[in-house]
C-alpha cells in the first residue's frame, strides 16, 4: 500500500476555490438570476397563509395563539334556519373581519397548526411585497384568494398515523 503524499491544507483550500470557479464558468452557477428565472419553492414552503372562509367559526384560537398578535378577527352571531323542521333556529358565527398583518407575521405557522376547522393553509406563494407597509395587511378577501395557490396535500408516508377524525 503506497502512502499518499499529504497535500497541505493551504494548497487544498486554494484548489477548492479554483475548482469552484472553473465549475461555475464551465457548467454555470448554483444560483438563478431571480427576476428572470424562478426556482419553484418546495410544496410545503411557508410563503403566505390562505384562509378558507367557510370553515372559519371565528373561534379566535389562531388570534390568541399568534405570538406577534398579527391576526385580527371580528365576528357576530347570526340566526340560521334549523337543521330539522320544527327545531329551534341555530346560532352561527359570522366572520366580519379576518386580517393578517404580514408586516408583523413571523411565519411560525402556529395559527395553521392550531386551527381545528381546517380554515388556514400554507401556500408557497412568496411574491407579495408592497411599496407601502400598510398594504401588507391582507383582508379576508385577499386571504381567500390565496386559497387558489394552496397545493394539494402530499400523500402520507406508508404506515403513517392519520391524525384527526376519519
Amino acid at each position: 500500500m503506497g502512502l499518499k503524499p499529504k497535500v497541505p491544507g493551504l494548497v487544498k483550500g486554494l484548489g477548492v476555490t479554483f475548482n469552484t470557479m472553473m465549475t461555475t464558468i464551465t457548467k454555470g452557477s448554483n444560483t438563478v438570476q431571480y427576476p428572470h428565472e424562478k426556482e419553484a419553492p418546495p410544496l410545503r414552503a411557508r410563503g403566505v397563509i390562505a384562509l378558507r372562509e367557510d370553515n372559519c367559526t371565528s373561534c379566535m384560537l389562531c388570534a390568541r395563539s399568534c405570538p406577534d398578535w398579527c391576526i385580527y378577527i371580528e365576528g357576530h352571531k347570526e340566526l340560521a334556519p334549523p337543521r330539522r323542521a320544527g327545531g329551534a333556529p341555530r346560532k352561527v358565527n359570522k366572520l366580519d373581519r379576518f386580517d393578517i398583518d404580514y408586516a408583523l407575521c413571523m411565519y411560525c405557522g402556529i395559527c395553521v397548526e392550531v386551527c381545528p376547522f381546517d380554515a388556514l393553509f400554507w401556500s408557497p406563494e412568496y411574491e407579495y411585497s408592497e411599496p407601502k407597509i400598510a398594504d401588507l395587511l391582507h383582508d379576508k378577501t385577499k386571504l381567500g384568494e390565496w386559497m387558489e395557490t394552496v397545493p394539494e396535500a402530499p400523500e402520507l408516508e406508508v404506515g403513517a398515523d392519520k391524525k384527526g377524525k376519519k
Binding site: 493551504l10 486554494l14 476555490t17 479554483f18 469552484t20 461555475t24 452557477s29 448554483n30 444560483t31
Partner: protein
C-alpha cells in the same frame, strides 16, 4: 532612443498627470470588476452582478453613482478637518507610488535613481492616513481598527523592505528602470533565452514580498484591521458616500500599484528578454516597446493581483497575535537569511 515629438514642459506635465490617473484608476476598475465582482462570485458558485451592462460590466459605474449621491455624514465629535483629509492621504500615497513605476523604455513618469527606496518610503504614508482616519472618527471601533492597521502595516513594512534588499543587491541598483533592464539583459548560466527574472533567483524574496503586500493591503487573511465581525468596518466605520469611495478606490488601486512594483522587481517589468530581438542595452530598444511595454506590465499585474485575490477569497482571517508573530518570527528572519544568502552568492559568482 528619444521620442520623435518633443512636447513643451506644460504638455509633458499634463501627459504625466493623465498617465498617472490612467495608471492608477484603470487597473483599480479592472481589478474591482474582474476579481472582486466576478472572480469572487465564481469561487462561491454564483454569477455576481449581471444587470448593469453586459455581464454587469457597468456595475462599478452604478456603484460610484450611488456613492456620490449619498449624504456626507460626519460624527459630531469627530475631528472634522483631519477626518476629511484622511482618505485623501491614503489615496495620495497610491498616486505617489505609481510615479516611479516604469512602463516602457521611455514611458515612465520619473527616472528616479533611488526608486526602490522612494517607493517603499511613500507606500508607508498610507499608514498615517489610516491611523488618523481611525483616531479622528471618535468611535471605539474605528480607533481599534486604526491601531490594528498601524501595528500590522508597520510590522509588515519590514519584511517587505528586507525582501526587496535581495533584489537590489542582485541588480546592483535602486533604479527601477535599471532593475528591469538588468533582468531582461541577464542570463542564467550563460543562457539568455529568458533573461533572468528575479523570481527565479529571489524566489524567497518574492514569496515574502507578496505575503507582505497582502498584509499591507489588509486583504484577507490579513484583514484584522477591518474585521467586520468584531470591528464593524475598522477605521472605515464612520465613512460614507464619497469619502468611503476614496478609501475603496485606494484599496484596489494600491493593490494594482503594488502588483506593478512586484512585477517590476521580480517578473522583469515591461521588458521582454532582450536576446529575442538582439538588443543589448536600453538604448537599442525599438520605439514600439513604449506601446507594448505597458500592455506587458498590465498582464503581469493582472496575474499577480489574481494571486492576491485568490488567496484573499480562500483563506480565513489570522488572529491578531498570530498575525504579529508571523511577521516578526517568520517573515523577518527568513528575509534576513535571504539577504545574507544573496550577498554571499553575489560575491561568489
Amino acid at each position: 532612443m528619444m521620442l520623435a515629438v518633443q512636447f513643451p514642459y506644460w504638455a509633458q506635465s499634463l501627459l504625466r498627470v493623465l498617465g498617472g490617473l490612467v495608471a492608477v484608476l484603470l487597473p483599480a476598475g479592472t481589478i474591482v470588476y474582474l476579481f472582486l465582482f466576478k472572480m469572487m462570485s465564481f469561487m462561491q458558485s454564483r454569477l455576481g452582478p449581471m444587470e448593469a451592462g453586459p455581464y454587469g460590466s457597468m456595475q462599478l459605474f452604478a456603484e460610484v453613482g450611488k456613492w456620490l449621491q449619498k449624504e456626507d455624514i460626519m460624527p459630531e465629535k469627530a475631528d472634522h478637518s483631519i477626518f476629511k483629509i484622511a482618505p485623501l492621504i491614503v489615496l495620495a500615497s497610491t498616486f505617489l507610488l505609481v510615479a516611479v513605476v516604469p512602463f516602457g523604455p521611455d514611458a515612465l513618469f520619473t527616472n528616479f535613481e533611488t526608486g526602490v527606496f522612494y517607493a517603499l518610503a511613500v507606500s508607508s504614508v498610507s499608514v498615517l492616513g489610516i491611523l488618523i482616519a481611525g483616531w479622528s472618527s471618535a468611535n471605539k471601533y474605528s480607533l481599534l481598527g486604526g491601531l490594528r492597521a498601524a501595528g500590522q502595516l508597520i510590522a509588515y513594512e519590514l519584511p517587505m523592505v528586507l525582501a526587496v534588499v535581495g533584489v537590489v543587491i542582485q541588480a546592483g541598483t535602486m533604479n527601477l528602470q535599471q532593475i528591469v533592464v538588468a533582468q531582461n539583459a541577464g542570463e542564467i548560466f550563460g543562457w539568455n533565452g529568458l533573461g533572468n527574472p528575479y523570481i527565479l533567483t529571489q524566489f524567497i524574496g518574492f514569496a515574502v514580498f507578496m505575503i507582505a503586500v497582502q498584509a499591507e493591503l489588509t486583504q484577507a487573511p490579513f484583514d484584522m484591521p477591518v474585521a467586520e465581525s468584531e470591528l464593524v468596518s475598522g477605521y472605515m466605520t464612520e465613512y460614507s458616500g464619497f469619502r468611503f469611495l476614496i478609501f475603496f478606490i485606494a484599496e484596489f488601486a494600491t493593490a494594482g500599484v503594488f502588483a506593478l512594483i512586484a512585477s517590476v522587481l521580480f517578473l522583469g517589468g515591461w521588458g521582454i528578454p532582450f536576446s529575442w530581438f538582439g538588443w543589448n542595452n536600453i538604448d537599442q530598444i525599438d520605439n514600439w516597446m513604449n506601446i507594448v511595454g505597458p500592455l506587458i506590465m498590465f498582464t503581469k499585474m493582472m496575474g499577480l493581483v489574481f494571486l492576491i485575490m485568490w488567496i484573499r477569497f480562500s483563506y480565513p482571517r489570522f488572529r491578531e497575535d498570530q498575525l504579529q508573530r508571523f511577521a516578526w518570527k517568520v517573515l523577518i528572519p527568513v528575509s534576513l537569511g535571504n539577504i545574507m544568502l544573496t550577498a554571499v552568492l553575489k560575491v561568489v559568482f
